[in-house]
Amino acid sequence: MTKKVSFRFLPLVLFVLLLAFLLKGLFSDPNERDSALIGKPFPQFQLPDLNSDSQIHTEQTLVNEPVLINVWGTWCITCKYELPYLAKLAKEYDVKIVGLYYDQNHAPEFGQYADIPAIRIEVKEMLARLGNPYQYNILDLDRSLSLNLGVTGAPETFIVDGKGIVRMHHMGDVNERIWREKLAPIWNEINQ
């Protein structure tokens, strides 16, 4: 009889074990929180410039002074509303802004490739029309840097200080209120 009883408890015991693993898995997952990046060095990368295949950017060229990194794309509607304000920031407050161009079409595994010349034309046209806040744009074609940054959509903005440490990750558009309340305090602090 005792043997029979223990047998019936087997599923329960197995389930409790599984539960323990799941609980541990939930908290050890590096991707679970994008804010985990804050206080950490900017991820390493090696990506071409949007406008020239031969010019390569790395984290070293990017982060030797405080910089705002803005994830965007011409396909993103909110980015269109954000651009003029970013341009104003760059011009009037002298904020160094670098664009991380996020392309969502490129999916070689599905047989889809981004049309880079077309993107360049679109970007040029859009920046001419709405204002160009960017020092330069990094093309993250396979979205690897965006993945490492924990980007969930566009637009998103990161503040990186002069030592290359990520200080802020903002999701959504940057506007005057967001800048004043959320980004400016950190920006001013790292620029002192």
Partner: protein
């Protein structure tokens, strides 16, 4: 305003679920008929308020109310209306509301259609459903409220990121799967209610069967349509990928299939009772576990971006309570269950026992394959990934005994049969099956492949035995008197046979070729001649692009003309490959248009996939068989109908 109404309705539904989980239970204890009678009414209220709430969410999506966080994050103003609708349950929060809608819908159905059940049983079932509901309503209200506002500052437009997933298949197949997942909660509630009452006679199995069959049929249909959608939309011709999301839906299906057969034994022979209860608990538990795995981000896929561990913990607690609680109840109470039906080593019961063992083994294979990478990482052995080869090999081993049993079992008598009666017949059938398979493969294909031969032999084996069984049964009972559930079994088995043949043939004999073509060029594949006529501009409602016009001939006879398209969606700045498919009962021709090469030629990939339609045909037949059971007169419980 509308989102607030939806939110309010959700709170009312939550309150009703609390009432449902308490008062009818007190009524049971005190034998108070009035309190017990509250259960069906509360269930109806639960459904009505949840439906209203869901309607409000859909409204918020359709009217681009970006003051609602959920809408702002998962939709945008440029989205066509049908995708706005789909987006309302595409997000985490929305999908949980859909889950609740279906959960309450099933409870509603139980309240409506189970008037023939004894009052105490019906009350117990609805109370158990109430307990489950309390947990889920609490979850959605506390940590996943779909109506949360972004006020006072709301975005100009939504930030929908992934237009790739906008497809009609996304509108229909997740709700079907959810119907199946959640439907299993009814089998679960019946099992728990029976455990609680301690009254596990065969009538319990009889009541549970049609509900289980319905949930199972939805699950089957959801999986089938999901597979077909992946094939026709993803553009690379695959139909099953063994990824965690698919596995999460496949495991409950396997267990529910075992449950369906085990319930038959419990109903007819009063045996396997404790086992049946366990399967009912397991089927729903795996649905919950699957949802947890997919939604919590425990299993990281490349596209599972930031997830919230708080939510994960909440679901985990919910899982611990529902699954842990029911397993504990099972461990404590199952000892009291006595199965009276005795059977010998060779009987219908032992055959179905084999079916159950094999299905559970298959479930364990999938569960291990899905969870092992996680466990591996947790115990510090690094990251591994378990892929298709593992699953394919294991399933090849499992399907052979499964299909052999499936053929014979319906002919074996309940309780006891003579093994001696089952020596000559199977030998003749297997010899016939192998011979016919060999002829089939020799005539149709250039070479004979072992796995294809195996699959086709199993197909013919099942078909022959099914025919034999039908003939034998019809010699005793006239066609018109044969119960629908018998047809349901016959059809279900034929569906599985088609599925096996389809999988074997298409995986062994599919051919593909990458070609570079200019206007006027031809390419040959499997006897078909593909002629690249020209490329024309296409101008759709919200896209434009190119279509390659390809004429296909076989031995100079015209077969078909296909248009393989490359579309550019202007609003979404998105390129889509629309594969051209010439579907046929015996083969599919599948062409996807690749890149335009610098010299003006086009890259194309052409496939010929024999018998691939049989996979979905099989799935649809199986689902139909499940739905057929519902119309069997034996399962229609009428008011005051005599039980047992």
């Amino acid at each position: 305003m509308i989102p607030e109404l939806g939110n309010f309705a959700l709170y009312i539904a939550f309150t009703l679920s609390i009432l449902l989980s308490i008062f009818p239970a007190i009524g049971l204890k005190q034998n108070n008929a009035r309190l017990m009678a509250m259960a069906p009414n509360l269930s109806i209220g639960l459904f009505v308020f949840t439906l209203f709430s869901f309607g409000c969410l859909v409204y918020a999506f359709l009217t681009d109310d970006f003051t609602v966080v959920n809408v702002a994050q998962n939709s945008n103003s440029a989205l066509p209306d049908q995708y706005k609708f789909a987006a309302s349950f595409g997000s985490h929060e929305g999908s949980f509301l859909l889950w609740l809608l279906m959960q309450s819908g099933w409870s509603f159905a139980v309240a409506l259609f189970s008037k023939g059940l004894p009052v105490d049983m019906r009350t117990r079932v609805l109370t158990v459903l109430g307990w489950i509901s309390v947990g889920f309503y609490a979850y959605i209200i506390i940590s996943s409220n779909p109506f949360e506002r972004t006020l006072p500052y709301f975005p100009i437009d939504g930030r929908d990121l992934n237009p790739l997933l906008q497809d009609i298949g996304m509108i229909i197949h997740p709700p079907l799967l959810y119907m199946g997942y959640v439907g299993l909660s009814i089998s679960f509630a019946f099992a728990i209610a029976a455990l609680l009452s301690g009254n596990l006679d065969s009538t319990w199995a009889k009541w549970s069967r049609p509900w289980t069959a319905a949930a199972w049929a939805f699950l089957t249909l959801g999986l089938t349509i999901g597979s077909w959608w992946a094939y026709s939309e993803l553009g690379w011709g695959g139909w099953w990928f063994w990824d965690p999301v698919e596995n999460a839906a496949f495991m409950p299906w396997l267990v529910a299939t075992a449950l369906l057969h085990s319930l038959a034994v419990s109903e007819k022979r009063n045996a396997f009772k404790s086992w049946t209860v366990f399967l009912a608990i397991a089927a729903f538990s795996l649905s919950l576990l699957g949802t947890f795995l997919v939604r919590s981000g425990v299993i990281v896929s490349v596209h599972a971006f930031a997830t919230d561990p708080e939510r994960g913990v909440f679901i985990l607690i919910l899982l611990a309570l529902v699954i842990g609680g029911s397993l504990l109840l099972y461990s404590l109470k199952a000892g009291n269950i006595k199965s009276f039906g005795k059977f010998s080593m060779f009987s219908r019961e032992s055959m179905l026992w084999g079916n159950n063992i094999l299905l559970v083994a298959a479930t364990i294979v999938v569960l291990m394959g899905t969870l092992l990478p996680l466990v591996h990482k947790q115990i510090g052995l690094g990251t591994i990934s378990i892929g298709e080869p593992f699953f394919n090999q294991m399933f090849t081993y499992l399907i052979v005994p499964f299909a052999l049993l499936l053929g014979i079992a319906p002919l074996v008598r309940w309780k006891q049969d003579k093994l001696a009666n089952f020596i000559t017949k199977p030998l003749i059938v297997i010899a016939t099956s192998i011979t016919l398979s060999l002829i089939w493969l020799v005539v149709e294909f250039p070479e004979i492949k072992a796995l294809a031969l195996l699959g086709v032999t199993l197909f013919i084996w099942i078909m022959l035995f099914t025919a034999l069984e039908l003939k034998q049964t019809l010699s005793k009972v006239s066609f018109s008197k044969l119960p629908l559930s018998h047809f349901s079994m016959v059809l279900g088995h034929i569906g599985v046979a088609f599925l096996i043949a389809g999988v074997a043939l298409t995986s062994q004999y599919s051919v593909e070729r990458d070609v570079k073509m200019n206007t006027g060029d031809s390419a040959e594949l499997k006897g078909y001649e593909f002629k690249f006529n020209h490329v024309e501009n296409i101008d759709g409602p919200n896209y434009d692009g190119w279509a390659a016009v390809i004429t296909i001939t076989k031995q100079d006879e015209f077969v078909t003309k296909l248009l393989a398209e490359k579309r550019f969606y202007a609003v979404q700045r998105n390129t889509m490959t629309e594969a051209a498919i010439d579907a046929g009962f015996f083969r599919d021709i599948y062409i996807s248009l690749g890149e335009r090469l610098p010299d003006g030629a086009w890259a194309l990939r052409i496939y010929v996939k024999p018998y691939i339609r049989w996979i979905w045909l099989g799935g649809i037949i199986v689902a139909f068989a499940g739905l057929l059971t519902l119309f069997d007169r034996r399962y229609r419980t009428r008011k005051n109908a005599k039980q047992g």
